[in-house]
């Protein structure tokens, strides 16, 4: 093991790690927004839209992210839409994550008993107020474990971004292997980089989940 080499390449990984993290963050925020909208459309059975959302969820969950990225990166230019590697990565992550988040949130919404909604209506709240004060707070608590698992899953999925020439962690590692043939070092630092990003997040999530469970207000 060439420790001097490792020492030299760490700064490259930090840079790529920050890029990976930034893209993951934007993608996940977008996925949460898309997921919330889709889950509400399915929960309220909005005509027409619910069919579109259903098709989107099936398509997104049953195709690999790599293929989705190829469509964005190589397919869209054919119809005149050019996206940068970074935009492709973010949109790809939103496309994939949106459906997973939608399903996590929908299961939360459906776990709230209908009569809770009726109880809210019976004290004169509007549908919107019922959603805001009664339905969503309870649904979110149920969704949290799946929701957090999805976040970790999406961060890991970023490792395919190198396929659309985005200089993320995976890209840097492959680049170094190609240039210097130092496979062991490059891959070791790669694994450690993902661990450094994911382990703290995972630890925080575990604590958050436990807190929520015990503060749990469920009957």
């Amino acid at each position: 093991m060439d420790y001097e080499f490792i020492n030299d390449i760490i700064s490259l990984y930090i840079e790529a790690g920050i890029l990976t993290f930034r893209i993951a963050l934007l993608g996940i925020v977008g996925a949460v927004v898309v997921g919330l909208l889709c889950s509400l459309i399915k929960y309220y059975r909005v005509p027409v839209l619910q069919k579109i959302v259903g098709a989107y969820i099936e398509l997104s969950r049953n195709t690999p992210l790599l293929i989705q990225l190829f469509f964005l990166y190589f397919g869209l230019p054919k119809i005149g839409i050019m996206l940068s590697s970074e935009s492709c990565a973010i949109w790809g992550l939103i496309f994939l994550g949106g459906s997973y988040m939608a399903e996590a949130m929908r299961s939360g919404l459906e776990a709230v008993a209908d009569i809770q909604v009726e109880s809210g209506l019976s004290i004169g709240l509007t549908d919107f107020q019922v959603a805001r004060y009664i339905l969503l707070p309870q649904a979110i608590t149920v969704s949290v474990p799946a929701f957090l698992a999805n976040i970790i899953f999406l961060i890991k999925e970023t490792s395919v971004f190198s396929a659309v020439a985005l200089a993320d962690l995976m890209y840097v590692a492959k680049d170094l292997i190609g240039l210097y043939y130092k496979t062991d070092e490059a891959l070791l630092v790669l694994v450690l980089s993902y661990a450094v990003i994911l382990l703290p997040i995972s630890a925080v999530f575990t604590i958050a989940e436990r807190k929520l469970r015990y503060a749990g207000f469920g009957n």
Binding site: L121, G124, T126, I134, G218
Partner: protein, 256 residues
């Protein structure tokens, strides 16, 4: 009784789920300050009647009027109607993620846009009345069934409804907790609240009712004063129904 003065008028109400007819042709007037108890066998449609009044169910025929205004099958502003109609459910349906005080003030503050501190002080006043003021910052899961149901009644009351609907509110309670809930309702009746009560507690029904409505298979079979209904009902079906609650009748079956 003068029809004009009825607070709630139900005219030829029909309710069905697809081909399954739940309420056939219900007409009923409820006047201000009146306590009407609805009794009948399970599945006769009495809970559905309350849900129709509160607009939780569409109806397939007839009209429901509150203060002379049609409130049935309204698409718009149903929430304004529901603010005048209090509902208490069998399973309490407190909001588990809110404290007792938040449960009670949610409607007044968010739906009626009343002043927060005014709503809180009224909620506390009502909680004091039902001996639950020490639970105001507790969560529903920390309360017993009877306590939860008293909170649910307070939550409905805090909206200043013109009429209160009670849907088998003691059916899910342990026997020793039934009393504390019924006492609260008796107190309300004495103060002149207008109430429609669906219940299986016959002793209670007799004590609280101004009028008893007996529903069977989706129609009103008998409407009577409690003293006549519980001692010598006009109809044979009411007589049979009341017999179920007699211990002698149970013994009679055994001796056969």
């Amino acid at each position: 009784m003068d029809k004009e003065k009825a607070l709630l008028e139900i005219e030829h109400l029909k309710k069905s789920y697809d081909s399954n007819i739940v309420l056939k042709d219900i007409s009923l007037d409820i006047h201000k300050g009146e306590v009407v108890v609805v009794v009948g066998p399970s599945g006769c449609g009495k809970s559905t009647l309350l849900r129709c009044i509160n607009g939780l169910e569409d109806i397939q025929g007839g009209d429901i009027l509150l203060n002379g205004e049609i409130i049935s099958n309204r698409k718009r502003n149903m929430h304004l109607v529901r603010q005048k109609v209090g509902m208490v459910f069998q399973s309490y349906e407190l909001f588990p993620h809110m404290t007792i005080l938040e449960n009670i003030t949610l409607g007044p503050v968010k739906a009626q846009k009343r002043n927060q501190s005014e709503a809180v002080s009224e909620a506390e006043e009502l909680l004091r009345r039902v001996n639950l003021i020490d639970k105001k910052d507790a969560y529903p899961r920390q309360l017993s069934g009877g306590q939860k149901q008293r909170v649910a009644i307070v939550r409905a009351l805090c909206m200043h409804p013109e009429i209160m609907l009670f849907d088998e509110v003691t059916a899910a309670l342990d026997p020793e907790m039934v009393r504390e809930v019924l006492d609260v309702m008796l107190g309300l009746a004495r103060e002149g609240s207008t109430m429609v009560i669906v219940t299986h507690e016959m002793q209670f029904a007799r004590a609280i009712a101004d009028r008893v409505v007996f529903i069977d298979s989706g129609e009103i079979v008998e409407e009577n004063t409690p003293s006549i209904f519980f001692t010598n009902p006009d109809t044979e079906r009411a007589r049979q129904f009341l017999n179920i609650f007699e211990f002698d009748a149970v013994k009679g079956v055994k001796n056969k």
